[in-house]
Amino acid sequence: MKYASLLYANLFRKKLRLILTIGSFAVALMLFGFLAVVREAFAGGVDIAGADRLVVINRVSIIQPLPLAYMDKIRRIQGVKEVTHANWFGGVYQDEKNFFAQFAIEPATWKQMYPEFKIPDEQWNAFLKDRQGAIAGAATAKRFGWKVGDRIPIKGTFLPGMWEFNLDGIYQGTRSADDETQFWFQWDLFEEKVPERFKGQVGWYTVKVTSPDAGLKVSRAIDAEFANSPFETKTDTEKAFAAGWVKQFGNIQFLILTIGAVVFFTLLLVTGNTMATSVRERTGELAVLKAVGYSDNFVLLLVLVESLVIAGVGGVIGLLLAKGFTLLGDPTHGMLPFFFLPAKAMVAGLIVAMLVGIASGIVPAFGAMRLRVVNALRRV
């Protein structure tokens, strides 16, 4: 602590430069935060996917249906604990930009399948009894100002007509990454209203297995059961299914990593140059420190700590700005299923900032350490 005044004085030697350098870190880390939010939005579902759940889709494509009759057959396969099914609806609420996912679900088994979604019992019971009932995620309800009891009109797209629902309940996720944007309604209503050619078909099955270890064996058994039938299946773990879904949007992870790498490399050049200039400007002072008895290692640490303080302060400011931005709400109005900056991304951001701080300070710091007093004083 006794060296704090020396560190403080050096940091504040040129206030404008300090502010700009910290600002560079803050902007870079804010961008890192935004990228992490986008990455989480796409990949978050993969991270939190149930380890004991499988998704069964038509082998041709997810948009091809599967027969409802498969449900009992799947349930009989050894290692299967529970089965439910759902259909994609794809309706429009008021305007096409008001996107959110709508599923026709099988209520008898849905709640047991997804224990991470919490709904008050009285709301769920009301939904079970209401053929036109619906359950909305808390984020969607908040977005449109819905409350339980509201009538929600949704215009069908591939299933034409206006569909009216009673909002019987609002569910909430138990984890920060849980998707609270979905809208569920009764599969029976869906089945009743779809054209004859769509009847008796479901979009996909979700299967809960007795243990995560049984997942592979059960998925093979399901696909074997329906092999060579008109509706062959493709069964994956929920994690693999979610990852495959994300891949449809392109290699988001690579894109984010590339942008992040360019940003941090640029930051490294900027801050490295700043630190080098800062050290070069006080060559004589560093020589005097050495002359009066400060060791080479002390001078090395002094420069490195300065660099780390700048990186740390800038990093924290940038990450807090990014966090603050996410707390203001999703600017895509629900296009992204998750919109939050996870704590692990903030920690990772801070670590990256510190690494850039070390990398940008290490060359000037070594230069300062190796500085020969006699040569440096001759230059003054």
Binding site: A287, D296, L377
Partner: protein, 244 residues
């Protein structure tokens, strides 16, 4: 007593056969050639000589800032020339006070903080450091300017702060490289009076490089660097070949 014949026995600073060669542009420059020197506690020695004669090089070697090509330097029994770089750094902190021509104060630190710098390396408490710094600044007559930054001080005052920084840790000897070189005559006289006070009143050993014969006259002994060795005597004696 100051000697240049290498026959001193119990001197504080003992230099024997000191050699220093530089290589510049492929050419060997032999600056010091078997130089001998003995300085006792409380001596005030001025080194003179033409530019490039090796005065500052000698001071750097004595202060452990540079290493000789050959020869030895011992201070109070410590063999300086055989020390490692790290040991030499610690030795400098304990034994040497530097006063530079260009002051070399840290501009973003106050006079107090500049003077406190060498004490941060010690185990002194904050209050003990404050006491030492205030004493040093009072000795140089800047007790009322301790919270001023270098830019708020005159050249003479800055040099006083440098002297305070040099004496604050009570080193064995002071090395002054052209301490008045950047000052007007009045300020130079004040600085010389201060150095003399340190020698006479506080029994400090001072080795000083100067170009100024008036300044050199204030020292107990003036030594001239000629052809890589030291000779004693006035400039006139040296020029006429009558020096020792």
């Amino acid at each position: 007593m100051v000697r240049v014949d290498g026959k001193g026995t119990s001197s504080l600073i003992k230099v024997r056969g000191l050699d220093k060669k530089y290589y510049r542009g492929g050419e060997e420059i032999h600056v010091l050639q078997g130089l001998n020197l003995d300085v006792d506690q409380g001596d005030f020695v001025a080194f003179m000589g033409p530019s490039g004669s090796g005065k500052t090089t000698l001071l750097n070697l004595l202060g452990g800032l540079d290493v000789p090509s050959a020869g030895s330097i011992s201070v109070a029994g410590d063999e300086v020339t055989s020390m490692s770089r790290a040991t030499l750094t610690q030795w400098r902190a304990r034994h040497v006070g530097f006063v530079f021509q260009m002051y070399n104060l840290i501009p973003v630190l106050t006079a107090f903080q500049n003077v406190e710098l060498p004490l941060l390396l010690t185990k002194l408490s904050k209050s003990e450091r404050r006491q030492h710094v205030e004493t040093a600044l009072n000795v140089v007559g800047l007790g009322d300017r301790m919270h001023h930054y270098p830019r708020q001080l005159s050249g003479g005052q800055e040099q006083r702060v440098t002297i305070a920084r040099a004496i604050v840790s009570d080193p064995t000897f002071l090395l002054c490289d052209e301490p008045t070189g950047d000052l007007d005559r009045k300020s130079a006289d004040e600085i010389m009076n201060l150095i003399l006070t340190l020698v006479k009143q506080y029994k400090k050993t001072v080795l000083m490089v100067t170009h100024d014969p008036v300044v050199a006259q204030r020292a107990d002994v003036t030594l001239h660097l000629e052809k890589g060795v030291l000779v004693e005597g006035s400039l006139e004696q040296v020029m006429s070949g009558g020096a020792q």
